[in-house]
C-alpha cells in the first residue's frame, strides 16, 4: 500500500516536472522568436524609411487624376503612358477616380539587374508604424508601356478601394474589381449555385430572391439550418455528412425527426453554412448598373451590404439580384470545341496534304 502510494506520488511529481520542462522550453522558444521578429521588423522599418526618404529624389508627374513619383530616367515614357491610361481609368472607376488625387503611385528604376527594369508601387495609407506610408509593389519587369499600364490600373484599383472602410467592404472580404464581370466569372457563379447542396442554393438558382439573399449573406444569419435548408434538405445534409457524429441525434434525424436534424446542425454550424464566394460578382454588377458615380457611392456609404448595393446600383436590391441570377443562368462561354481558327487551320492542312499526295513521284 505504502509502495503504491509512493509510486503514485513519484509519477505525479514526474508528470509535473515534465510539464514544467515543456513550459520552460516553450518560453525559451517564444523569447527566441520574439528576438528574431524584432530584428526583422527593425530591418523592414529601416528599409521603408530609406524608401520613404528616397522619394524626395523622384520626379513628380500628374496625368488626369494620377499622381506619380517616378525615377528621373523613366519620366518621359511614364508620363506619356500615364496620359494614355488616365482616360480609360476614368471610364473604369467613374467619379471615384477623383480619390486618386489623394494618393501616390511610384515608378522606380531598378538597378539590381542587367536588364532595364522598373517597379510600379503605390503608397499605402500612412499608419502609426509608417507615418510616410509604406510602398506596396504592384508589378515589376522589363521597362515597357504595358508594364506601366497594368501597374497604374492595379494600383489605382487598390488605392480607390482602400478608401472603403464600411460594412460592404467587410462583407466583400476582398478588394472589389469594378470591371465588368467576365463570362468566366458568370460560369463560376452558375456552377457554384447549380452545384450547391443547400436548399437555398437551389432556390436561388431557380430565381428565389430571398434565398439568394441568404446565400449571399445579405440578411443576418439567425438560424442557419432553417435558413439554408428545408426539412428534407436537412435530412439529406445529415445523411451526406457522416462527420455529424452525435449518434442519437443523427439516428433520429435519419428516421425523420426534423427536430433532431435541427439540433444536430445547429451544433455543427460549420458544416451547414457554405462559404460566401459570390459576393464580388453582385458588387461588380451593382457598380456596372449604377453608372459612373456608382463606385464612389459604394465606397462612401455606411449602410448594410444589401442597402449599399441598392444605393450603388440605383435600383432595389431585389432588382439587382434578379439581374444577377439571370446573368448567372444565361451568360456563358462560347464552346472551345469549334472556332473559325480551328476550321481554317484544319482545312489548310487537309488541302496541303492532299496536294502533296497528288504530287508524289511514286510512279515516276
Amino acid at each position: 500500500m505504502a509502495i503504491a502510494a509512493a509510486c503514485a506520488a513519484a509519477t505525479t511529481a514526474d508528470a509535473q516536472g515534465t510539464r514544467a520542462d515543456e513550459l520552460r522550453a516553450t518560453r525559451a522558444r517564444l523569447d527566441r522568436l520574439t528576438a528574431r521578429w524584432r530584428v526583422a521588423d527593425s530591418v523592414l522599418k529601416a528599409f521603408d524609411d530609406s524608401v520613404g526618404r528616397s522619394r524626395a529624389a523622384l520626379d513628380t508627374v500628374r496625368a488626369g487624376n494620377l499622381r506619380i513619383l517616378v525615377s528621373k530616367a523613366l519620366r518621359a515614357e511614364v508620363e506619356a503612358s500615364a496620359r494614355r491610361r488616365a482616360g480609360p481609368l476614368d471610364t473604369l472607376l467613374g467619379t471615384a477616380t477623383a480619390r486618386l488625387t489623394r494618393h501616390w503611385i511610384v515608378v522606380r528604376q531598378r538597378n539590381d539587374s542587367t536588364l532595364d527594369t522598373a517597379v510600379v508601387a503605390y503608397v499605402a495609407k500612412p499608419g502609426k508604424a509608417y507615418p510616410e506610408g509604406r510602398e506596396i509593389d504592384v508589378i515589376w519587369g522589363p521597362v515597357a508601356d504595358t508594364l506601366y499600364g497594368r501597374g497604374f490600373r492595379t494600383a489605382a484599383m487598390h488605392l480607390v478601394w482602400s478608401d472603403a472602410d464600411n460594412p460592404v467592404s467587410r462583407w466583400l472580404n476582398a478588394e472589389l474589381n469594378p470591371d465588368t464581370t467576365t463570362a468566366v466569372a458568370w460560369t463560376t457563379v452558375r456552377l457554384t449555385l447549380a452545384s450547391d447542396q443547400t436548399t437555398a442554393g437551389h432556390k436561388c438558382w431557380n430565381g428565389d430572391i430571398d434565398a439568394c439573399k441568404v446565400m449571399l449573406r445579405l440578411v443576418p444569419l439567425t438560424d442557419a439550418p432553417t435558413q439554408f435548408f428545408d426539412s428534407a434538405g436537412r435530412r439529406q445534409h445529415v445523411e451526406r455528412n457522416t462527420g455529424l457524429s452525435d449518434e442519437p441525434h443523427r439516428t433520429n434525424c435519419l428516421r425523420g425527426d426534423d427536430k433532431a436534424c435541427r439540433a444536430l446542425m445547429a451544433f455543427e454550424q460549420w458544416s451547414v453554412i457554405p462559404p460566401n464566394l459570390l459576393s464580388g460578382t453582385v458588387a461588380q454588377l451593382a457598380v456596372r448598373m449604377g453608372g459612373s458615380t456608382a463606385l464612389d457611392r459604394l465606397i462612401a456609404t455606411q449602410e448594410s451590404p444589401a442597402r449599399a448595393l441598392a444605393i450603388t446600383a440605383g435600383v432595389p436590391i431585389d432588382s439587382v439580384l434578379r439581374v444577377w441570377v439571370r446573368n448567372a443562368r444565361e451568360r456563358r462561354l462560347p464552346s472551345e470545341d469549334m472556332s473559325a481558327g480551328i476550321a481554317a487551320g484544319s482545312l489548310m492542312w487537309i488541302l496541303v496534304c492532299g496536294v502533296l499526295a497528288m504530287r508524289s513521284s511514286r510512279w515516276r
Binding site: 456563358r332 469549334m338 484544319s346 492542312w349 496534304c353 492532299g354 497528288m358 511514286r362
Partner: protein, 215 residues
Amino acid sequence: MFSAILWSQWKATRALVLVVTVLVFAAPLFSLQVAYTAFSPVQFVSSMQSFGALYSIMAAVAGLLVALSAWRLDHAGHHVYALALPLSRARYAAYRFTAGLVFLLPIAVGLLIGCLLVAISGLIPDGLHAYPIALTLRFTLAALVAYAVFFAISAATNKTAGMIIGVIASLFFAQYLLNVFAGNTYDILEPTVNFIFVRPGILSVFAGRWMLVDA
C-alpha cells in the same frame, strides 16, 4: 471513273467504317452513363472532360484506318490496276483522296446522332450546356486532318516515308546530344511539339478541350 473507284474503295473500307461508326456513336452515350452518377454539375463536367481525349484518339484512328485502306489494294497489287487506267497519277490520287473523305462522313454522322441523343436525354444537370454540333464538327475536322496526313504519307515513296521517320529520329538524337554535351540548357523537342500542336500547327486541331457538355 470516280464512281468505280468509290465503289472499289468502299468494299475495302466498309467494315472498318462500320466498326468505327458504332464505337463513335457509343462514346457519347457511354460518357453520359459514367457522368450521370456525378452528384454535382462540376463533377459532371469533370467526368465529361475525361472523355475528351477519347474523341481525339478516335478521330485520329478513324483517319488513319480510312487512309491506309484507301491505298491498301494498290500497295498489294503493286499499283498495276492504277497504271492500267487511262488516268494521270495526280487525278487518280485525287479520286482516292476524295473517296476517303466521303467515307469519313458516316462516322461523323454516327457521332452526331450519339451526341444529339445525349443532348436531348434530359440527363444533363441544370446549368450545363451540350455542344453536339461543335464537337461533331471538330471531330470531323480532326479525322479529316489525320486522314489527309496519313493519306499523303501512304501515297509517298518509301524514300519520303523514310525521310520523315529520319527527321523525327534526328530530332530525338539531337536532343540527346544536346543533353550530353550542353547539359539541360537547350530543349528543341518542346518548341517542335508546340509548333505541331499549337495553332496553326498541323495537329493543333487535336489539342485543347473536347467537351460535349460544358458550363
